[in-house]
């Protein structure tokens, strides 16, 4: 399902790249992690379905953040140029927010089932799960934020920029905050630091991926706007790359270091968690190289309004980001020992 307007292939390629990358990341992550035989095993469908639903959730939320950041990147000084883009971006953000809300609710149901596969899955069982487990509450809060965004987004789609862009950015990012509670993002010791680090990781990744995806999907074929917006985004992306790498390595190494059963240098390659972490570091390296390519090889041409191969390169980058998202979902639940 896509927006049926003047179809530009860039939009489909970005969305397809994110989705396929996410799926590939989930499968790669599951392949890297060893799954032990489980008592009352919830089954393969849930083992694969859970991360797929969760990756969809993350990608939808990221798209909402990116589309909310778009007016900030484009600026407000030239409404005649930016308004056609925003007329697509605003309803698209509403649709993605609805997908976000739905996948968050679905994720609660899947988790409730996975936790108690031998109990009949009724609304009562799901409500009980939410009441008892913090992860359920986190997802519910995220779904509520997504619904709030749907409402604000509809207002924005009707009334244009009179609904402040900052409000939309704030609500979308606030909805991301409870998501780290659903993974083993933080540990018993150093809990405060690792939690804040994880929040920054999630916000940075969302702004980076969402910003790039929104920009390439909606602005790449408008050279005038791109020449102004891409340099701004490039600065944001550099900051996000640094932030995401530092916080990611900090959290990953902390998780391995605090584990009482395995010791560090070896556990990077012997545990599921370590292997998925290494795969994510490889993704970060690739993204840095791809980002550098856009920044130093393509950006000078774009600034001069010359045609470039930006869409192709950016689609590769977005796909790698999708892989990293899929891996992240598996990583947040991979057994450390």
């Amino acid at each position: 399902m896509t927006l049926n307007r003047t179809t530009t292939p860039a939009r489909h390629r970005v969305l397809g790249g994110l989705l396929l990358g996410g799926l590939a990341g989930v499968l790669l992550g599951l392949g890297l992690s060893t799954t032990s035989a489980v008592v009352g095993d919830p089954g393969v469908v849930v083992q694969v379905g859970q991360p797929v639903v969760r990756t969809l959730l993350d990608l939808a939320a990221t798209a909402v953040v990116g589309l909310s950041l778009l007016p900030k990147l484009l600026g407000f000084s030239r409404p005649a140029l930016t308004e056609p883009v925003m007329r697509v971006a605003r309803p698209a953000a509403v649709v993605f927010a609805a997908v976000w809300a739905f996948t968050a609710l679905l994720s609660i149901v899947v988790r409730a089932y996975e936790t108690r596969p031998d109990v009949p899955l009724t609304l009562g069982a799901v409500v009980d799960y939410v009441q008892r487990v913090g992860a359920g509450q986190g997802l519910l809060f995220s779904a509520v934020c997504a619904l709030a965004y749907v409402w604000i987004g509809v207002l924005a789609a009707r009334n244009g920029e009179s609904v402040p862009a900052e409000l939309r950015i704030l609500v979308s990012m606030f909805g991301l905050l409870p998501l780290p509670i659903t993974g083993h993002a933080a540990n018993w010791k150093y809990h405060d630091y690792s939690m804040i680090s994880m929040e920054l990781h999630v916000l940075g990744a969302a702004a980076w991926t969402g910003g790039l995806a929104a920009l390439v999907a909606l602005v790449a074929h408008r050279r005038g706007l791109l020449a102004e917006a891409l340099p701004k985004f490039s600065k944001l992306a550099t900051a996000c790359l640094a932030l995401v790498s530092v916080t990611g390595v900090f959290n990953g190494v902390l998780e391995l270091a605090l584990n009482p059963v395995v010791t560090l240098p070896g556990s990077l390659f012997t545990t599921s968690y370590g292997l998925v972490l290494v795969a994510k570091v490889v993704c970060a390296g690739l993204l840095a190289a791809l980002g550098a390519n856009i920044r130093w090889r393509l950006l000078p041409h774009i600034a001069q309004h010359k045609p470039t191969a930006l869409v192709g390169w950016a689609c590769v980058e977005v796909t790698v980001m999708g892989v990293a998202f899929g891996l992240a979902v598996v990583l947040s639940r991979a057994p450390v020992a």
Partner: protein
């Protein structure tokens, strides 16, 4: 613009810190020790199996389960909920029967809300007097009628939510945009 963004970010960090310092541990639990130990040889069957983790275990009906399998796939776990005390879970076990190797498969709900499962084996060297539990199939037959009357199946709720959200968004965007912003999904 950068000032606004940095202001937003600092607000978010402050809110994060305020909201999230309260909840408890969030990492996967790791099994530290067990009683009986994995691979132990015992003369008398244990009355219970105690699993101790590095972090608290979530207590709740059916969250933490165990199955103790003896020879020929017989079940030896006792009915009834395990006792959760901080970091450890105590599962009641029936008096064991023949001298053989027993396998305990457990699943507990980790502090971070993820199910964690594992296995430990121990050997009974002298035969006990116990008899195995009824097979899960028999037990399920006894329980099923009570469990089934529990309400509307969950997929009805899921379909309802999808319909409500999809329809709501479709009509909201259609109605306000004068039919121009068609973004149905």
């Amino acid at each position: 613009m950068s000032r606004v963004v940095s202001l937003l970010l600092s607000c978010l960090v402050a809110l994060t810190a305020a909201v999230l310092t309260a909840p408890a541990a969030l990492a996967h639990n790791v099994l530290i020790s067990s009683d009986p130990k994995d691979g132990a040889a015992l003369e008398t069957g244990p009355q219970s199996i105690t699993l101790t983790f590095d972090q608290p275990v979530n207590a709740g009906e059916r969250f933490n389960t165990i199955s103790v399998l003896g020879p020929d796939g017989t079940h030896w776990e006792a009915a009834g909920e395990p006792t959760v005390r901080d970091n450890s879970v105590v599962f009641p076990v029936l008096p064991l029967g023949p001298a053989a190797e027993y396998t305990a498969n457990y699943r507990v709900l980790s502090a971070d809300g993820h199910p964690v499962s594992g296995q430990l084996k121990f050997t009974l060297t002298k035969a006990g007097t116990g008899t195995p539990a009824p097979t899960p199939a028999q037990a399920a037959d006894a329980v099923a009628p009570a469990g089934d009357g529990g309400g509307v199946p969950i997929w009805v709720w899921i379909a309802g939510a999808a319909l409500l959200l999809g329809g709501g968004v479709f009509f909201a965007l259609r109605g306000g945009g004068g039919g121009k912003e068609d973004a149905g999904r």
